[in-house]
Amino acid sequence: MTSLQPEQLHEAGQEAMHQVNVTVNGRPRSATVPARRLLSDFLRHDLRLTGTHVGCEHGVCGACTVLLDGLPIRSCLAFAVAVDGRELTTIEGLAAEDGTLHPVQQAFQDHHGLQCGFCTPGFVLSACGYLAEEPDVDDVASIREGMSGNLCRCTGYAGILDAVKQAAGALRDSGADPRDRHVPGGDR
């Protein structure tokens, strides 16, 4: 232990650094960051995965939602050091390698579930986590509740709810896990 406080260490350019190893979208990634690096900033700044958006930075808007070991979480409310060794899925991990959209992404396009697009990565990841949990969902009231943790200031939500409903049907038909990278034409 040092006698300097963390803030003093930082001012002296000596803030303690931690190596963080994670699997992101199936690939091992690592970076060395200070303990205070939020997972959202770790993804965007250190790993250059800028698809994860940062809105409010205090857990209200949901724009930064990613999957941690398959469960949706707010990446702005987790420190990167705290998820060392775990698996993450971000918006970059959903479309097929050839660019074919994931059924949730396709449904958002089909139903005008986005306008400016800022909230969309968070909505899509929340939807993937929700549909993995509730694959049989078919009523808009349940979907509204399931998606209630994300804010959109453009669409008025109707298109988003329709999109999640369509995606639920598409995923039921294909049998794919909503949290996996899309495989075109695949009915696994």
Partner: protein, 293 residues
């Protein structure tokens, strides 16, 4: 909107965590799910010099249901507790209250014990503890302490966790037969902090008349406000409660303050409306819950 610098520790054994916290004293803060602490740090409302992350301590992840208690370890998330069928059967109010806690994405990471230790006056689980009367176990390097639920929450955002201590688990009593519960609240958006809310516990006698009734309100004081309504409701038939007097009594004991979301008088009005609904629901629930042996 970025946290200030801190030293990070992630022990894998409770003893190691307690030794670290003892050494850190007032500078050390326990991190579990972080769903209240991290936003406060992001907004620089909190700036602990060191965090001790307890989520890698396996022993704190136990969720146990015995004949007498549901015992929830410090790293058990809201969502894990909500989905646990044994916990819901033993203590139905838990699931009823957890349905109101934030949004699913927050529940995936936030912990039940952390919510109780954080003691937000609008949070549901501190009210469940205050209403059902469980206990909280704390560990420090000097040993362990057990506090009654009613004694654990000291006030606004303040619980009786001393520097160097970890709240290791919370135990809630198994709900007996002939006892019903309900939880009602209103928020501007379901999952947001409630404008007002209430948990109710109500027991019936052999003739299906009310014997015991208690309510714990959230969002209307510095912590959960527990009001005993037994005197107002005792002897009433479970399926035709006349709760006006009980509601008036409860409202008299609430003095919520104004804020940008609602005036104090509206919150008091709302708390009474919610109480009436919750009492009726708990009475029906109690009648469904078996006949004493």
């Amino acid at each position: 909107m970025k946290p200030s610098a801190f030293a990070y520790h992630a022990p894998t054994e409770l003893d190691e965590a307690l030794a670290l916290l003892a050494e850190l004293g007032e500078d050390g803060k326990v991190l579990a799910g972080g769903q209240s602490l991290v936003p406060m740090m992001n907004m620089r409302l909190a700036a602990p010099a060191a965090l001790v992350d307890i989520t890698r301590i396996d022993a704190l992840g136990n969720l146990e249901v015995t004949g007498s208690h549901v015992t929830v370890g410090a790293t058990v998330t809201h969502e894990r507790l909500r989905k646990d069928p044994a916990a819901a059967a033993a203590c139905p109010l838990l699931r009823r209250a957890l349905e109101w806690v934030a949004h699913p994405v927050i529940r995936n990471r936030g912990t039940a014990v952390g919510s109780i230790a954080h003691a937000d006056p609008a949070a549901e689980l501190p009210a469940v503890l205050a209403l059902l009367g469980g206990h909280v176990d704390l560990a420090g390097r000097q040993g362990t302490r057990r506090l009654e639920g009613a004694d654990f929450i000291l006030g606004l955002l303040e619980s009786d966790v001393r520097p160097g201590e970890v709240a290791t688990r919370v135990s809630l009593p198994v709900t007996p037969p002939r006892t019903g519960t309900a939880f009602h609240e209103l928020a501007r958006r379901h999952g947001d902090y409630a404008l007002a809310g209430v948990g109710v516990m109500l027991s019936l006698d052999d003739d299906d008349n009310v014997e015991v009734a208690r309510a714990a309100f959230i969002g209307v004081g510095d912590g959960p406000v527990v009001v005993d309504l037994g005197a107002m409701l005792a002897g009433q038939p479970h399926d035709a409660l006349s709760s006006e007097a009980a509601v008036a009594t409860a409202r008299d004991q609430l003095d919520p303050s104004d804020d940008i979301h609602a005036s104090g008088s509206y919150r008091r009005h709302l708390a009474g409306i919610l109480l009436g609904r919750a009492l009726a629901e708990a009475a029906v629930d109690a009648a469904r819950r078996g006949v004493p042996a």
